[in-house]
C-alpha cells in the first residue's frame, strides 16, 4: 500500500514533467500547426545548460534559472532561423526538417559537451525526504518538481486566460487566419510561443536531470511520450495536456510497478518477467488507443478545429 502511494506520487511527478513538455508541444502544434520533432532536443539542451551553468556558478538554483533563460533564447533563435520557413510546408515537410534539426542537435551536443553525458547534483537542502503521510517518506526534490510545475501551470493558466497574449494564443489555436487579419504581429507571436515552448521543455529537462539523466538522445525517448500526451489530451489544449500528462504519468509508472507482479501471480517466472516488461511499457499506448477510440479528437479538443 505504501509502495502504491509512493509509485502513484512518482507517477504524478512524471506526469508533471510530461506536462511541461507537452504544453509547449501542443501550443506549437495548435497555434502554428507545426509538427516539431526537435522539441526533445530543447529538452536535452535545458538539461545540458543547467548542468553547465550549475557547475560554473556552483549553484543548482542559479544554474537552473540561467538554463531556463538560455532555453528561451535558444528557442526563439531557432524559430527565427530554422522553424519559420517550415510553417508553409505540409506536415511531412516539417517532419523532414525538424528531424534534420534533431540529428543536428544530437551531434552538436556531442561536439560541445562530448559523448559521455553530464551530471547535475542537487543542493544538500533538497537531498532529504520528508514525511508526507504517517509512515511515508518522499524525496523533497520530487515534491519540488511537482510544486514548480504546478506553479508554472498556474502561471500558464493566468497568461492564457487573463492576458492579451493569452487571448491571442487562444484565438490563434482556433482560428489562425483570423488573428492575422486582426492586424496582430503574427510573426512575433509565433516566435514568443515557440520560445515559451522551448523554455518549458528546457525546464522539464533540467528538473529531471538530477534524478534521471543528462545525455545525448534523451529527447528521443521522451518525445514519444509527449506526443502521446497531446494526442490523448487534445491538440492545442493546455488543460488537456495537463490531464493527459497526469494520466500517462500515472499509468506508466504504476503500470511498470505492478503489472509484472500481477503477471507473476498466474504466469511462470520467465514468462511473467519478459511479458511483464513489455506489457508495462505498452500500457500508455493501450491507454491512447482506448481514449482515441472513444474520443477521436482527444479528451479536450480545441474548439473550432
Amino acid at each position: 500500500m505504501l509502495y502504491f502511494i509512493e509509485q502513484s506520487l512518482n507517477g504524478v511527478q512524471l506526469g508533471m514533467l510530461l506536462f511541461l513538455l507537452a504544453a509547449g508541444l501542443t501550443l506549437i502544434f495548435g497555434i502554428m500547426d507545426l509538427v516539431n520533432l526537435a522539441h526533445g532536443s530543447l529538452y536535452m539542451l535545458g538539461a545540458y545548460f543547467a548542468a553547465t551553468f550549475a557547475a560554473l556558478t556552483d549553484s543548482f538554483v542559479l544554474g537552473a534559472i540561467l538554463a531556463i533563460v538560455a532555453s528561451l533564447i535558444a528557442g526563439m533563435a531557432l524559430e527565427v532561423i530554422a522553424i519559420r520557413p517550415l510553417y508553409r510546408r505540409d506536415h511531412l515537410g516539417q517532419v523532414l526538417g525538424t528531424f534534420g534539426l534533431l540529428l543536428f542537435f544530437d551531434e552538436l551536443v556531442r561536439l560541445v559537451w562530448g559523448p559521455a553525458g553530464m551530471t547535475l547534483s542537487l543542493p544538500d537542502a533538497m537531498l532529504s525526504a520528508v514525511q508526507i503521510l504517517p509512515g511515508i517518506y518522499y524525496p523533497v526534490y520530487r515534491l519540488v518538481i511537482m510544486a514548480v510545475t504546478l506553479a508554472v501551470a498556474g502561471l500558464l493558466y493566468v497568461i492564457v486566460m487573463r492576458t492579451r497574449l493569452g487571448m491571442l494564443i487562444r484565438a490563434g489555436a482556433s482560428n489562425r487566419e483570423m488573428v492575422g487579419a486582426l492586424g496582430v504581429n503574427i510573426t512575433l507571436l509565433y516566435t514568443l510561443v515557440f520560445g515559451l515552448g522551448a523554455a518549458l521543455a528546457g525546464l522539464a529537462g533540467l528538473m529531471q536531470a538530477p534524478i534521471l539523466t543528462v545525455q545525448i538522445g534523451m529527447g528521443e525517448n521522451i518525445l514519444i511520450l509527449a506526443f502521446l500526451v497531446i494526442a490523448i489530451g487534445g491538440i492545442g489544449s493546455i488543460r488537456g495536456a495537463f490531464v493527459a500528462a497526469l494520466l500517462v504519468g500515472l499509468v506508466d509508472t504504476v503500470g511498470r510497478a505492478f503489472v509484472p507482479d500481477l503477471l507473476h501471480t498466474f504466469l511462470s517466472e520467465a514468462a511473467a518477467s519478459s511479458l511483464g516488461r513489455s506489457l508495462s511499457s505498452m500500457m500508455i499506448y493501450l491507454l491512447m488507443a482506448v481514449v482515441l477510440v472513444a474520443r477521436p479528437e482527444g479528451l479536450f479538443p480545441a474548439a473550432g478545429r
Partner: protein
C-alpha cells in the same frame, strides 16, 4: 502516364545501371564494404518504395513503418531459432504477419486525420518495439544473431553476397515496377483520388476506406519483405531497428527523393544513405551537416529531389 525520355527517367535508368554494376566493382577492387553498403541501400529503398505507396500516392501517413521491418526480420529470426531455416517457410510467414499487423493498424488509424494518424501508427510501432524487447528467448533488448541466412535449396545461395545483392536488386526493381502498375490501375486511381479529395470520392460513390486499407496492407507486406532482407543481410535483428527514429529515417528517404514519384524512394534512399556514409568519413560529426541538409531540402525542395529533376506528381 508518359514514359518519355526526361531527366528523371534518364537519372533513374542511370542509377539502376550503376547499382547493377556494384558487385562487379567490388569484385574488381576488392572493396567488399561497397557491396555491403549498397545492399543496405537496396533494402531500405524497398522499404521506402512501400512507404511512398501509402504516403506519396495514398496520402496516408505512417510514422511506424519501421515496425514492418522489425516484424519481417523477427519472423526470419524466430523461425530460424526454432529450426525453420527454409526461406520457403520464413518469407511467406514474414510477409503474412506484416500484412496482418498492417490490417490492424490501418483499421484503427485510417479513420483518423493528420497528426492523430501519425500518432497511432507511431504508437503501434512502439508497442511492437516493446514486445520485441521483452522477447528474452530471442535476445530481448540485445537482439538476435541469425547465424544462417534463409535457405532456398538449390535455387539461390543467400550467403553468397553477390547473389544476395542481385536478389535484392531484382526485388527492388520488380517492386518499383509493380507499384507503378498498381498506381495506374483502377485501384491506384481510387487511392490517388482519395488522396486528392476524399470528400469528393465519397460523393461520387467510392467506399474509400476499404481501398485505403488494402493499400496500407500491401505496403505493410512489402515493407515486411524489406525486413526479411535486412535480417538476412545483417544476420541480426533487434528491437532498435524498430525504434521510431528508424521510421523517421524511412520518411526522410521517401520525402527526400520525392513523394508520389516512381523512382523518388530509390533516389531518396541512395542519396540519404550515401550522404550519411560520406559525411561520416569526412567528419567526426556527420549530423552537423546532415541535419541542416535535410532542413534545407525541407525548406527549398518541395517535391524532393525528383522535383529538381523536373518531376511532377505522377497522375
Amino acid at each position: 502516364m508518359t514514359a518519355a525520355l526526361n531527366p528523371r527517367a534518364a537519372v533513374s535508368a542511370g542509377v539502376v545501371a550503376v547499382l547493377a554494376l556494384i558487385p562487379l566493382y567490388a569484385w574488381l577492387t576488392g572493396d567488399v564494404f561497397a557491396l555491403t553498403l549498397f545492399t543496405r541501400v537496396l533494402i531500405l529503398a524497398l522499404a521506402a518504395v512501400s512507404l511512398n505507396l501509402i504516403m506519396g500516392y495514398g496520402g496516408m501517413i505512417s510514422f511506424g513503418h519501421a515496425a514492418y521491418i522489425g516484424i519481417g526480420g523477427y519472423a526470419v529470426g524466430i523461425l530460424w531459432r526454432e529450426g525453420f531455416a527454409s526461406g520457403f517457410v520464413q518469407w511467406p510467414v514474414a510477409v503474412a504477419v506484416s500484412a496482418l499487423f498492417a490490417l490492424v493498424v490501418g483499421a484503427l488509424s485510417l479513420r483518423t486525420r493528420g497528426v492523430y494518424c501519425l500518432m497511432i501508427t507511431l504508437a503501434f510501432a512502439q508497442m511492437i518495439y516493446y514486445v520485441a524487447s521483452g522477447l528474452d528467448r530471442y535476445g530481448g533488448d540485445d537482439g538476435l544473431t541469425i547465424r544462417s541466412r534463409s535457405e532456398f535449396g538449390g535455387l539461390v545461395d543467400l550467403s553468397d553476397t553477390t547473389q544476395f545483392y542481385y536478389l535484392c536488386l531484382a526485388l527492388l526493381v520488380a517492386s518499383i515496377y509493380l507499384v507503378w502498375r498498381l498506381v495506374n490501375s483502377r485501384f491506384g486511381l481510387a487511392i490517388q483520388g482519395a488522396r486528392s479529395n476524399e470528400r469528393r470520392m465519397r460523393a461520387i460513390g467510392f467506399p474509400t476506406f476499404r481501398y485505403k486499407l488494402a493499400c496500407f496492407v500491401i505496403a505493410g507486406a512489402l515493407c515486411g519483405l524489406a525486413g526479411v532482407l535486412l535480417a538476412n543481410h545483417t544476420n541480426f535483428i533487434s528491437p532498435a531497428m524498430m525504434f521510431w527514429t528508424r521510421s523517421g529515417d524511412l520518411i526522410v528517404m521517401a520525402v527526400l527523393g520525392g513523394l508520389g514519384t516512381s523512382f523518388g524512394p530509390l533516389i531518396g534512399a541512395v542519396t540519404y544513405l550515401l550522404l550519411e556514409e560520406a559525411l561520416s568519413r569526412l567528419t567526426d560529426y556527420p549530423g552537423l551537416f546532415l541535419g541542416p541538409a535535410l532542413l534545407l531540402v525541407a525548406i527549398y525542395l518541395h517535391g524532393g529531389i525528383a522535383a529538381l529533376l523536373g518531376a511532377r506528381r505522377d497522375g
